[in-house]
């Protein structure tokens, strides 16, 4: 017993010495935008006036054009995605560039501004950026040359390699040294080895793969069909499909918000000629299913603030000017409205 105690003291001392000698990463001082809600304003086609707004939900203060304010230059792109990974914020413009900023104050850390066509999203893995890109259009507006671009510096730089994937890749998610890619047009999921920079496996799924997320210790994929939506989970040891959940929700657009108690909110749109938009409520892990939880028209983006139990719904207002955000509570009751930037399309809760 005494021997064990001595060993414990020695181990503890060694640990203390070891940790005191380790060189820690300098801590980043948290900035204004490390909390609150970031609103992605896509911008209008041909105008490249995408931007980010910041909302402080505790006092309702909204700051617009925070990229331009922080950097003294316009963002100059159509903002497709806003990705927070590795304590950096990546602004993905589908007009062909990525801006890397400090998430606290939005000051620029770097860019990727060559070698891309129509980037959609990215993930950081193995100290590299992996960027999903539609590639260029062919004569039929098809995208047969879609790819995942590899940039070997997480602060940006040149595209070092393009890994061919199925048409119109969207979301990506990292797991260890692997990356899952949502191949939206051909209903495929690609598995990429980030170190080898190659596709090692491709899975077939139903619907259009849209968004990956993590829940209950698993990686899930949300895909949309015309009359139903699908939620897949994966075996992460051999990258095979584990579970499939199907819900009868029509006309889902692929935009999703994650609420409290494992409830998800899915944006739907009937399209021509009625153009009826809606929000469906569903849970894979719980019993909720309400295909008509909320309805209206002109919905363009959705987000959920778990802290306050509020759903944020974005209206693009036809891109004629700034969009509008409506805040709903968990019963679907409208709480307030406010104006955001041009074409609000998504939210990042910090």
């Amino acid at each position: 017993m005494k021997n064990n105690f001595n060993q414990f003291i020695i181990c503890l001392s060694l640990s203390l010495i070891l940790f005191s000698c380790m060189e820690n990463e300098p801590e980043r001082i948290l900035g204004e935008f490390d909390s609150g809600i970031l609103i992605m304003n896509e911008g209008a086609f041909g105008a490249n006036d995408g931007e980010v707004s910041h909302l402080n939900p505790s006092n309702g203060t909204l700051k617009t054009n925070i990229f331009e304010t922080a950097n003294g230059r316009p963002f100059a792109g159509l903002l497709e995605d806003l990705v927070y990974e590795d304590d950096k914020l990546y602004l993905v413009a589908n007009t062909g560039k990525i801006e890397v900023v400090n998430p606290g104050d939005f000051t620029s850390l770097g860019t990727v501004n060559s070698g891309l066509d129509q980037p959609r999203s990215l993930t950081v893995n193995s100290e590299k950026l992996f960027i999903s890109d539609y590639g260029s259009y062919d004569q039929n507006y098809g995208t047969p040359n879609s790819y995942i671009a590899v940039v070997k510096n997480i602060l940006g730089g040149n595209v070092a390699k393009k890994i061919p994937v199925s048409r119109k890749p969207e979301d990506l998610i990292s797991f260890g040294k692997y990356i899952l890619v949502a191949g939206s047009e051909e209903s495929k999921v690609h598995v990429i080895d980030a170190e080898k920079e190659e596709v090692i496996k491709t899975l077939e799924v139903e619907g259009k793969p849209a968004v990956f997320y993590e829940a209950a210790g698993k990686i899930w994929l949300y895909t949309t069909g015309s009359n139903e939506v699908y939620f897949y989970s994966f075996h992460l040891d051999n990258f095979t499909l584990a579970t499939t959940n199907i819900f009868p929700i029509e006309n889902a657009t692929g935009k999703i918000a994650f609420g409290n108690n494992d409830i998800m909110y899915l944006l739907t749109s009937s399209g021509w000629p009625d153009y009826e938009d809606g929000i469906a409520q569903v849970s894979v892990l719980g019993p909720e299913l309400n295909p008509k939880w909320y309805s209206g028209s002109g919905f363009y983006g959705i987000g959920f603030d778990k802290t306050r139990g509020e759903l944020y719904l974005a209206y693009a207002n036809g891109f004629q000017g700034n969009g509008t955000i409506t805040v709903l509570d968990e019963s679907g009751t409208e709480k307030r409205n406010f104006e955001s930037g041009r074409g609000p399309s998504g939210f990042l809760m910090r």
């Binding site: 105008a47 490249n48 560039k97 860019t111 507006y141 657009t253 693009a316 004629q320 000017g321």
Partner: protein, 612 residues
């Protein structure tokens, strides 16, 4: 081959000079917009005034010499008109009486309409669907070639070289007898467009050289006018135009799009003069092909017109007519055809002393839509020797384009035509060498079509209602002292064009000035000439413009200036030379017409014209 024919004509034929012949004249009915456009404002540029613009485009002329605001996406890139606060598709463009706006887009790219092809350009202001037909809400531009008979043969070579690698060459030849007038125009230009600009979207705003805005253009126009006998005339024109362009990317984008536009246009006009009347048959064919990257879009339009003008009564003139238009489009996403039928009746009355009145009506049918009442009314009232009062009232309309109705996905077959009602009143004051014109107009445009996203699909809807009010004031002063001639021109345009409240819009959009519609514009130019020497300097001011309806971002107003020094009609052997040196953007102003689309700084151009 064409050059050879011209050389043969020039040197083998002997034609008497025009002023030595007594000609048998045929009375040609002037275009309806001239004869029946009483009370309407119109400005014109004749062959002489267009001389210094022959190597340039319609976009350049309108930007420098008219109150039309040109939305230009870069030098040589897409340029569309914004006339009296209306949108790009609300200005009709005619070539020899044939409408040439694309039936799929409902507009023309003014950058690729070269001025070498036109002998006369008229700009009609405001809504007049009765007289001009579809699309004339903000106004209309008329490009025309004029018949020439009994003129000396002429062959001219025009060249321009300039900054950013620009090279333009044109060839004009004409030959005529008492009965036949032939005119040929050939042009080619190459412009690498390698201008420097500051990329203020990047860290440190580096100065870059434009490397993806090159364009080439070539074309050919052939006019043959045949005076068949003393009361019959045939006018034919054919115009081929092709432009290949690299599409200049907006700042922050690195897309390397290319576009090729090719058009074939044919106009045929046949006049028969009867006692107290003229019959006119006109037909035309326009075929536009566009390759955007590898994506091909094609449209075709055929027109048949017949008009009967009656001058039987001394104080009355009548014109009755009809038109059939067949439009078709083949696109990557859809194919469509449509037929339009129009009839019209124009009346002029001059039975009241010092007053000329016109009253015009048009009826239209397209698909299953019937628009029975499109009127316009106007009067010119000569108040005194110095003052002329002009007043008019009219309706304009625009049929939804093929894309608006049939684009897949999103086209909306239920769209209504856009409609405008406009009234204008103006005074023209002429005293001695001073001419001043002040015009006020008010217009309302309803069912304005806007494309907006519905879910993931963009679709057009009759959403907007717009009220336009404006003032246009133009002044000209001619003066001569000794051999020196002076022409001073200055103008001011005020445009108040607002989006009226619509419950579907947020209130921040209500009663706001439309995007890219400057409230204030001004122009001034001075031309001094003495003998063969000409000096010109001009300047334009374009006021601030909002990029969106809620005015959250305003682009700064800008002044642009240009100057030109010319020596005309220098004789060297059998040839006549004209040399011009021109500086565009004289003060090297950094400016954007549209957000994130920097325009070039100062550029230098030398023109050499040789007349054989």
């Amino acid at each position: 081959m064409m050059l050879f024919v011209w050389v043969m004509l020039l040197f083998d034929q002997k034609v008497e000079k025009a002023d030595t012949l007594l000609l048998q004249e045929i009375q040609i009915e002037a275009p309806a917009y001239q004869t029946y456009g009483q009370g309407k404002k119109r400005i014109s540029w004749n062959k002489e005034e267009l001389k210094s613009y022959k190597n340039r485009s319609l976009a350049d002329l309108l930007a420098e010499k008219s109150p039309v605001f040109i939305r230009q996406y870069g030098p040589g890139m897409l340029a569309s008109p914004n006339f009296r606060g209306t949108s790009a598709g609300h200005t009709a463009i005619f070539w020899n009486g044939i409408p040439i706006n694309s039936p799929s887009l409902g507009q023309s790219d003014l950058s690729i309409l070269p001025l070498i092809i036109a002998d006369q350009i008229d700009l009609s202001y405001g809504s007049d669907g009765a007289l001009l037909g579809n699309e004339s809400l903000g106004g209309a531009v008329h490009l025309s070639t004029t018949p020439q008979f009994n003129q000396s043969p002429n062959l001219s070579i025009l060249q321009e070289t300039g900054s950013f690698g620009k090279f333009h060459i044109g060839l004009e030849g004409s030959y005529s007898t008492e009965k036949i007038g032939i005119q040929t125009k050939i042009y080619h230009q190459n412009n690498p467009n390698e201008y420097s600009y500051r990329d203020f979207s990047e860290v440190g705003s580096p100065v870059k050289k434009q490397d993806h805005a090159a364009f080439q253009q070539q074309g050919f126009q052939q006019d043959v006018h045949w005076k068949i006998n003393t009361n019959q005339l045939l006018k034919t024109s054919y115009w081929w135009n092709k432009a290949n362009r690299e599409i200049q990317p907006i700042l922050g984008s690195f897309i390397q799009d290319t576009q090729s536009d090719e058009s074939h246009r044919i106009s045929l006009q046949y006049f028969i003069q009867k006692q107290n009347s003229i019959l006119e048959f006109r037909s035309g064919w326009v075929k536009d092909s566009q390759y955007f990257n590898q994506i091909k879009n094609e449209t075709s339009s055929i027109f048949f017109n017949s008009d009967w003008s009656i001058h039987h009564f001394s104080d009355w003139e009548f014109r009755l007519g009809g038109r059939v238009s067949l439009n078709s489009g083949n696109f990557s996403s859809y194919s469509a055809r449509e037929t339009r039928l129009e009839t019209y009746q124009f009346i002029n009355f001059s039975g009241i002393k010092h007053v000329d009145v016109s009253f015009n009506l048009r009826q239209l049918k397209y698909e299953n839509q019937w628009v029975p009442f499109i009127p316009s009314f106007g009067l010119n009232w000569k108040l005194s020797q110095e003052f002329l009062l002009k007043a008019s009232f009219g309706k304009g309309f625009k049929i939804p384009t093929l894309n608006d109705r049939f684009w897949e996905p999103g086209g909306n077959p239920n769209l209504l035509p856009e409609e405008s009602w406009q009234g204008e009143m103006g005074v023209l004051w002429q005293k001695g060498s001073l001419e001043s014109q002040l015009t006020f107009y008010g217009m309302e445009v309803d069912n304005w079509i806007i494309w907006k996203p519905e879910g993931s699909i963009w679709t057009p809807q009759n959403l907007r209602k717009v009220r336009n009010r404006g003032i246009e004031w133009e002044n000209k002063l001619h003066s001569s002292f000794g051999q020196n001639k002076l022409l001073f021109f200055w103008s001011y345009t005020f445009t108040h064009s607002v989006n009226l409240p619509n419950p579907e819009d947020p209130t921040t959009f209500w009663n706001q000035q439309l995007p890219y519609t400057p409230r204030h514009q001004g122009q001034a130019s001075l031309k001094l000439s003495k003998s063969k020497f000409t000096f010109q300097i001009g300047s334009q001011y374009v006021g601030s413009r909002a990029t969106t309806l809620d005015q959250t971002r305003l682009l700064k107003g800008y002044f642009l200036s240009q100057t030109q020094l010319g020596l005309d009609n220098l004789n060297l052997g059998p040839f006549k030379y004209t040399i011009q040196f021109r500086v565009q953007n004289l003060f090297n102003k950094e400016y954007q017409v549209l957000y994130l689309r920097p325009m070039p700084g100062r550029s230098f151009h030398i023109n050499l014209s040789i007349q054989l």
